[in-house]
């Protein structure tokens, strides 16, 4: 009997304790500056450059690394309820605009740093400015996209691996497709029995086309706009995708799946469309097979490719009402302006940071040459591409609408026999947008 009593009390205490613990967890901690970030490398840079022993901040920074999608769900809930809020958050370009649009409600304005933005890329400042004219975020990096290719294959097929020469074969979509056909028919005397595929996933061109549009997905009245480059003409996104697919010019993988990454070292694919950070994260990190015997390290080079686009980008915001206002602002400022950090980080990771002057310095800096890219200095191409980025096309709906459009472009390109026409695919794309985003007017 006594045993049962003890059990009852212990169990009750345990369960009630759990409940109490959960409730207690809702309180703000407040004794450390809390930083939410979606990438492990970025968490590391805070430890390496900011919260170091030499700098001796006098307070601790609690870094929480959460995958982007989970972080956004968590942030949305925290913002709505006003509890469990972080002090500084790293946001990503495809999804950050909705917070900027609601900036006055949730974010601390960073207007005092407007003077510092002169050296930053204009589109990052434009995108980070709310509808009320206040500056709400500072971008750490700028993420122009390039076309990275295998030097050995270029040498074999085009007789040179020089980026300037290779760019001539890929400077327009027309030339891109022509070169893709050349690559497909190239066997190299048996070295490439199945020919070479120009890219791994043909839908990778989606990010190139979506990132190089002239119009965003919605106009100022939240009316859906489809940029002509996506649907009209022989070299529109839909047609290029269909050509790549039907003529078997790509390896037909899906971006991000196993084969996509093994194509980085496997000698089947000529190149990848990647943004600055992707060269490191997607290519360099996957350039060796699991046995360590086959590697494409050092066999790469980059060119601007057929279009200037961008993908991703990290923006820092300060959450409204933080107890660490000055410290948080200082944090955000550091990661967008500190010379030592920006230059060293760029060199270490081949990344491209948000400061025109420092990046220009790196063009001449031989220590910024990238061994993975066979010693190429990527900065002049990064700068050339970054200058062309149009920040006006960033809207709060990008992540959702981009993937919906790609789904219908894929249906147009692939569904053998049952494929919709472009007009049908566009109509269905509009239906899909209307069914998921009711705040948008679809004609």
């Amino acid at each position: 009997m006594k045993g049962k009593r003890v059990m009852a009390v212990a169990l009750s205490a345990a369960l009630l304790g759990t409940a109490a613990g959960v409730m207690a967890g809702c309180n703000n901690r407040g004794d450390k500056l809390i930083y939410w970030v979606f990438d492990r490398d970025m968490a590391q840079q805070v430890r390496d450059y900011y919260a170091t022993e030499e700098r001796n901040l006098g307070y601790e920074i609690e870094i929480e690394t959460v995958p982007l999608e989970s972080m956004l769900t968590r942030l949305d809930n925290a913002l709505r309820t006003g509890t469990n809020l972080p002090d500084v958050v790293a946001l990503e370009a495809e999804t950050f605009k909705k917070y900027i649009d609601e900036g006055a409600q949730f974010l601390e304005p960073l207007d005092e740093y407007k003077d510092l933005t002169a050296n930053m890329y204009d589109y990052t400042v434009e995108a980070a400015t709310g509808p009320d004219g206040h500056l709400y975020a500072l971008a750490t990096n700028v993420t122009p996209g390039v076309f990275a290719y295998r030097r050995s294959m270029a040498e074999a097929v085009f007789g040179t691996d020089d980026p300037e020469e290779i760019q001539k074969h890929f400077d327009t979509w027309e030339h891109f497709l022509e070169s893709a056909r050349t690559l497909k028919n190239f066997t190299g005397g048996g070295d490439y029995p199945e020919g070479i595929k120009v890219i791994s996933s043909y839908m990778d061109i989606g990010k190139v086309f979506c990132g190089s549009r002239t119009q965003g997905w919605v106009d100022e009245n939240d009316r859906l706009v489809i940029d002509a480059s996506l649907t009209d003409g022989e070299y529109s996104m839909m047609e290029v995708a269909k050509t790549l697919q039907t003529e078997d010019l790509s390896h037909e993988t899906t971006s991000g799946d196993g084969t996509y990454y093994s194509d980085v070292w496997d000698n089947k694919v000529f190149g990848f469309f990647q943004a600055t950070w992707g060269l490191n994260t997607n290519l360099k990190n996957n350039c060796t097979d699991s046995s360590g015997e086959i590697t494409s390290d050092g066999d790469w080079a980059i060119i601007p490719g057929p279009a200037a686009y961008f993908e991703g980008g990290t923006y820092h915001v300060v959450i409204k009402g933080t107890k660490w206002l000055e410290e948080a602002k200082e944090f955000v400022k550091f990661f967008s302006t500190d010379e030592t950090y920006l230059k060293n980080w760029a060199k270490e990771h081949g990344d491209f940071m948000n400061n025109k002057e420092y990046m220009q310095d790196l063009v001449e800096d031989e220590t910024a040459n990238n061994a993975f890219l066979g010693g190429q200095n990527p900065y002049s191409i990064f700068i050339e591409q970054a200058e062309k980025i149009n920040g006006e096309i960033i809207t709060r709906y990008d992540s959702e609408i981009n993937s919906t459009f790609e789904a219908w472009a894929t249906n147009y390109a692939e569904l053998d026999g049952k494929a919709p026409t472009i007009a049908e695919a566009v109509a269905q794309f509009k239906n899909a947008v209307a069914a998921s985003l009711t705040s948008i007017t679809v004609d």
């Binding site: 037909e252 993988t253 069914a435």
Partner: protein
Amino acid sequence: MMRHSENSVASEGVSGVGQLPETAEEQQPKKKKFRWKVDYYGILFIVPFFVVYAIFSLYPMIYSIALSLTDYEGFNRDIGLVGFVNFTWLATQPRFWQSLLNTVMIFCMNFVPQMLFALIFAAMFTGKTYKMRGKGAFKGIYYLPNILTATSVAVMFYTLFARPSGGLWQLLTHMGMSTDVNLYLMPWPSRIIIAFIQFWMWFGNSMITLSAGILGINPSVFEAAQLDGASQKDIFVHITLPLIKPIVVYSLVVSTLGGLQVFDIPYLFLSGGPALTDGRNATETVAVYIYKMAFTGDMRYNIASAASVYLFVICMIVSFVLFRITHSDELKEQKRMERRIAKRGGVA
């Protein structure tokens, strides 16, 4: 040494706790003494459940119902009651109805083979005459998929059927499928794969439940049948099946409710795709639709709540119907038996 000290702490705890109610007992009038004691511990036992249930189930449920009647969207904080607008809006959405249909289709494709295989294996593993080697190992292996996390399972199957190097995709192309085929763009193959994953993950679980049911049958019934010369097949059809009916019904109810709320595999596998016309999606279940409505895009908590209220109502109706069917069956059975007995009595 450690053990000793732990024991002494435990015994102290016991006597410490034990003393409290005894003093309480002394203060109570003698008549109510026993009853009070029982109630006190009974309540203590159930309080934690109710507290936790109230916080994590009851409150969210009521809150969802309340939200479904409001215009709570995005970051909007001025919430107003709008009546049943969300429900009528949802009713006009082909995407919502398709998600319901997908849920039912995926459930049916998974449940029927799941129960069939579970029954066959349960019968095999519990058979008295058919002695099989390594039963435990097989049971463990069949149950294993259920222990794996849904994420790993989804990634594994995605890789297996992915073009151009998934193992099963390649097998299918060797069997004559065109190499142009991308299964993930085709509604039925995608649904079938998801239903198969569900089947593969859950049939081991059903098998264990059914085995428990079979083992719970009084062995003398089987022995009597065997003595009367019944074959294995007869025993299974006429004794095992009718006697484990309650367990089958239990599995049916639990699986149906689980099936109606399925989220993990459909979401992780293709995130609802492939896209169909009119904004519909081929493997988007109601739970996935609710998640997407609430946490992506416009963050329409009101619509998501209304959809979950619909789902709740459907679950209630389905379980009511299922219980009703089984319940009335029992009554009928009883009446039939009574009639039979009465008839026999009349003859005698």
